[in-house]
Each structure stands twice: as structure tokens, then as C-alpha cells.
Symmetry: C2
Subunit: 195 residues, 2 copies
């Protein structure tokens, strides 16, 4: 998506270790106009899919997910992270390993809000190793709901998450795929079907 790629080029900052910071418009300070354009593109890309619910994970996926949900006219649900071991019978829960922080945490949603007749679109800001997205997909599976697909703002194409998710048979649309960040020069993967 050209709007997003332009923003990443202009406002993103590349740090050693393949770290891309986009906290001026995407995941700390957030520009509503950029997120709105992204939400409309996600709506367009999944126009042929039934979607009854948008599922994301706290915290930085929430801003995108609420606008995507508004575009589809459906509720948004955000999974909560927990480091507590206490599980309630009222929640679906799965474990996610954070490679960034070297920790394992639980991700939970209330069973009341994820039903077998739901068609669920996953939304998140970043896709790197895919652990968070696969955790969300597992919650959908536990609920017996249908996974419509996953929409991501920025995929790190040089990490394995995108490949794992696609090979798992999940329809994945990443609005920008960063294939490399050599010497601060960002190379995006060509995606001719996107606007």
C-alpha cells in the first residue's frame, strides 16, 4: 500500500538489529488519517470475505482494529495479555512466546464474545515471527469460529512469520512488507494487487 510505504520511508527510523521504529504515526503517536486509509484498504482486500468480528491483541493493534471494525460495521475484540497463571473457565487462552522480551505470556478472550458462528478477521500492527498472530488464530480455533484471514500493517519479510502464517493456510494481507533494511535503505516487496 503506497500511502503506508511512503509514511514508513519518510517517518520510520531504522536502528541496528533490523529494528524499524514507526512510533511517530503507528504505534505510540498515531495519525488517524493514515490508519483510516489502511482500514479502507483492508476492507477492500477482504471485500469477498464474510467478516462478523475483528480480533486483535492489546495494545498497539487496537487503534487499527477499531477502524477496520468500523469499516466492516462489526464489533472489534481485543485479546488481553496476562502474566498471571489464573485461568477462568469463561475465557479461551493460549500461550505466546515473545522473542523480543524473552518471555511467555497468556493471551485471553472471553468466551462470550467469540462464537462458533463468527467469521473472524485478525488485525495487528506488526508481523515478525508470527507468534502473536498464531496465538490469535488458536483462540479462533478454540471457539470453533471461522478464520477469514489476517491483515497486518507492516510485515518484516526477512523474518519467518509471514511464511509460517501463509503455509498454515491463513489468508494474509500485509499492507507493507519490508524485505530488507540494509544500511537504513528500506526495500518493500512488490504487491501489485494493492493500492
Amino acid at each position: 500500500m503506497q500511502t503506508l510505504e511512503s509514511y514508513i520511508r519518510e517517518k520510520g527510523k531504522v536502528y541496528p538489529g533490523n529494528i524499524l521504529k514507526v512510533d511517530s504515526f503507528l504505534n505510540h503517536q498515531i495519525e488517524p488519517s493514515v490508519i483510516r486509509a489502511m482500514a479502507k484498504e483492508i476492507r477492500r482486500l477482504f471485500a469477498d470475505c464474510p467478516v462478523t468480528k475483528v480480533l486483535t491483541i492489546e495494545a498497539s493493534g487496537i487503534a487499527i482494529a477499531i477502524l477496520v471494525a468500523e469499516e466492516f460495521g462489526v464489533p472489534m475484540l481485543f485479546a488481553k495479555k496476562s502474566h498471571s497463571a489464573n485461568l477462568s473457565p469463561d475465557v479461551y487462552s493460549t500461550k505466546v512466546t515473545s522473542y523480543t522480551h524473552g518471555t511467555v505470556y497468556d493471551v485471553r478472550v472471553a468466551k462470550d464474545f467469540l462464537r462458533a458462528d463468527d467469521h473472524v478477521l485478525l488485525v495487528d500492527d506488526f508481523l515478525a515471527n508470527g507468534a502473536a498472530l498464531l496465538g490469535l488464530a488458536d483462540l479462533v480455533r478454540q471457539a470453533g469460529a471461522t478464520l477469514s484471514g489476517a491483515a497486518i500493517a507492516i510485515e518484516k519479510g526477512f523474518q519467518q512469520g509471514g511464511q509460517i502464517v501463509r503455509e498454515a493456510g491463513i489468508r494474509l494481507e500485509s499492507l507493507a512488507i519490508v524485505d530488507s533494511m540494509q544500511d537504513g535503505n528500506i526495500t518493500f516487496r512488490e504487491q501489485p494487487h494493492q493500492s
Copy 2:
């Protein structure tokens, strides 16, 4: 705000200990149409105020804040909670005591995104004892920015936060003020200036 009060009456659940759960539409599953109506009402209530930035705190304030920011046509910034003691010189930080969880945590924003010439509207989903809101106000003060006011979805009028915030001279608009929840019957405070 009548729309919100109706939702709270119909979909909120009252539990012993003055606990009000609104996780079917406000802070776990989120109904975009309700949040949009709230964002428009907040825009109307603060129409006479200059606002250049909307500031909230992760996670459940983000969905409201992004729509409020979109209504004002300004960026949204969400403060991050941290239990780590590591402070960077690039952030403003303040300590917030969570009475619910009996813990103290740091709340941080990058200095880059909160400037002395900003006029900041605080937005959050709940106001109880006021600790989170006063923490956000302290970040605004540290930045030398101007505090335009605070907009809250649901104020627990039987707790002290609202009084403390108003007595601190902060203009506060709560879209619903719950004055009591006796035996599951919710009483809202009259607010004739609201729609």
C-alpha cells in the same frame, strides 16, 4: 449522554463491590458505532477548546482516543505502562498507583510527541480514583504543554476521582456518571448540557 447510559443499562453487568463490567461494548469487545457517537459528543463538548493532541493510556483507552482524535483531526498519543525501572532521557515518566491491582507502575510518553505548544485533551474509558488521569496530566505538565481538559466515558461518581480532578482545575466531561449501583440498579447523575 443518553446513548451511552442506555448501553450501560442494557449491556452492563453489576457485580458485588461496585464493579461495573461493560466489556461487551467498551473495553474488551468494542462496538464502533457506540464509540463513534461518544467521540462526536466529546468533539461537541470541547468545540470551544483548542486541541492539537489526544492523550490516553494503554490499553482500553486507545479505541476511544483514536476516534476522538479523528473527530478533531489531530494525532493521538498513548502513554505506555511499564513495570521496568529503566528510564530513558527521551521520555516523560510518572508513577501511577493502581488501587485495583495494588501495584505502582510507570507511565511514559516519548518527549518527541508531547511538545510545549501542544493543547492536550486527555481521554480514557473509566474514571474511578483518578490516579491514571492525574498521571497523564502530570506528563502534560512536564512537557510544558497546555491541558485542554479530560473526557471520560464512564465516571464512577461514588469514588473520589472526579472530585479530585475537578478541584485540580481540570475541565472534565464524563459522558456517563454512575452515582450508585444499589442492588444492581444504576443511577446516573443528571447532566443537562449533554446530548
